[in-house]
Amino acid sequence: MTALLRYHAALLLRSQRWLPPFLLYAAFLAVSVQAGQPVLDSLGYTAAALLPVAAWLARICVTAEPQAARGCVAAAVGPARAHVACLLVALSGAAALGTVATLGVTLLSAPVASDHRTPVPLAPACGAGLLAALVCALLGTAVGALTSRPLLRSRGRAVLALLLAALLSLVATGSPAQAAVQGLVTGSRSGTVPLPLLPLAAAALVTAAALALAGALAARRST
């Protein structure tokens, strides 16, 4: 599995197709997060914006390999493992991006609540931001996995479904990502740092199920 992950990571890095989502994410953060703003608010934006980026990254990983090359790898390790490996690489990429962004945003932000008076400790806030970012990376990967090959093969429909699903996972009540981001925002209003462990567990479960489903279908619905 390590060899497989290394192969897919190299494929992603060298293809440079990761660049557009990363740039879009950086641009969004540059516009919406400013130095000296309340830390939990900014971390909420950072986590929320990561979800569509993670979904896009998953789509990039799944579609990066030409079909014939995919066949060679699938013959060696089985199509399910090959497919899950490339989704795991996408998840790692999104998680790494989210970590860097969260750390950077924490350093730039002011350790206060929304009222700019109540103090908010930076270290726990950063921890909460990292957990929320991870929730969004997980859920974004699940969205990407469920809205691309092998589940949706027509490109137009897949992109539309990806955008809709990413938006829904951010705003629909009951979604772990919505809960995690909402936790940061309400925490900023009240000046308490939330600990989004329940959303994290839910997101991990949803993502594991999505990856398992996509992997299981990889052999049944190829081409």
Partner: protein, 288 residues
């Protein structure tokens, strides 16, 4: 001994209500067997090979006894952001080799296929034939137990085609199974243990012409101890053997198997002496 790879009543269709591409396929591939699959364009040969290689799962029926598998697709895309040797090293580790082992095997197979000069060329700049060599090397470097070749010879130059035929002979001698599709009826002529035709979505077994010398042959004259029997490995490989004088034998072997035969002779205990090796006059139109 690893189990046979078995397809039991296997069928495949694309989509939930798509037409059946293949149906009711029963096929057993035992270790060490060479299997040829034929059929018209679009008859479902490639679908069958993808089932055998484990890339696709059957829509009905089942497959048991999955060995370590490698697959060579018909057309290999150069749109990969690696150099030839970089890609092969990655694939070698995916096939279970260590990184150093994979790099060594990659260099060796590129050299055997006559593509050593392109080792550090980015895949995107390889010609069609050279990228097909990379596809072939990718499958061979892990010494798979099952090798599935979907028109792997297409696009290769003459030397690389012969090298691939020899590599197939090596795999089967080492106990690996090889399943191949090729449009050239002379490809590995006289060597397959079983032949099948895919017709109207089902698989028909064809009679294998006996071990007739139908492909290019090599004559090897050998000398052993006066009343020694030819080693078993040699008997299995040759198309014909005659004792010309006590201890002297004249062996005929299909050209792809000649290296395998010589290796068997020279590594026998005690080793046999190779007096001469000569290519037989080729049958018309069967230039190697």
């Amino acid at each position: 001994m690893r189990p046979d790879l078995c397809l039991e009543n296997a069928g495949r269709r694309y989509g939930l209500r798509g037409p059946w591409v293949l149906r009711g396929v029963d096929l057993t591939v035992s270790p060490g067997r060479l299997v040829r699959v034929e059929g018209a364009n679009g008859s479902g040969k490639s679908t069958l090979l993808r089932l055998l290689a484990g890339i696709d799962a059957p829509s009905e029926g089942r497959i048991t006894g999955r060995p370590r598998t490698a697959y060579v697709p018909e057309r290999f895309p150069p749109a990969l952001p690696f150099t030839a040797v970089g890609y092969l090293t990655h694939l070698g580790t995916v096939h279970g080799l260590t990184r150093t082992g994979a790099a060594r095997a990659a260099a060796e197979w590129l050299e055997r296929l006559g593509a050593a000069a392109y080792a550090d060329t980015p895949m995107a700049r390889l010609s069609k034939g050279s990228s097909q060599k990379v596809a072939v090397a990718q499958a061979l470097l892990g010494e798979p137990e099952l090798l599935v070749l979907d028109e792997a010879w297409t696009g290769l130059d003459t030397d690389a085609r012969a090298a691939l035929e020899r590599a197939v002979a090596e795999r089967t001698t080492a106990g690996g199974s090889v399943v191949f599709v090729d449009h050239d009826p002379r490809r590995l002529a006289g060597l397959p243990d079983a032949m099948y035709t895919v017709r109207d979505g089902s698989l028909v077994e064809r009679a294998v012409p006996g071990p007739s010398p139908s492909g290019p042959q090599v004559t090897v004259e050998v000398q052993g101890p006066p009343d020694a029997r030819l080693p078993d490995a040699v008997r299995r490989t040759v198309t014909s053997a005659e004792e010309t004088a006590p201890g002297s034998h004249r062996l005929t072997v299909a050209a792809p198997h000649s290296d395998v035969l010589l290796r068997a002779l020279l590594t026998a205990r005690p080793p046999w002496h190779v007096v001469s090796v000569a290519r037989q006059a080729d049958a018309p139109g069967s230039r190697r």
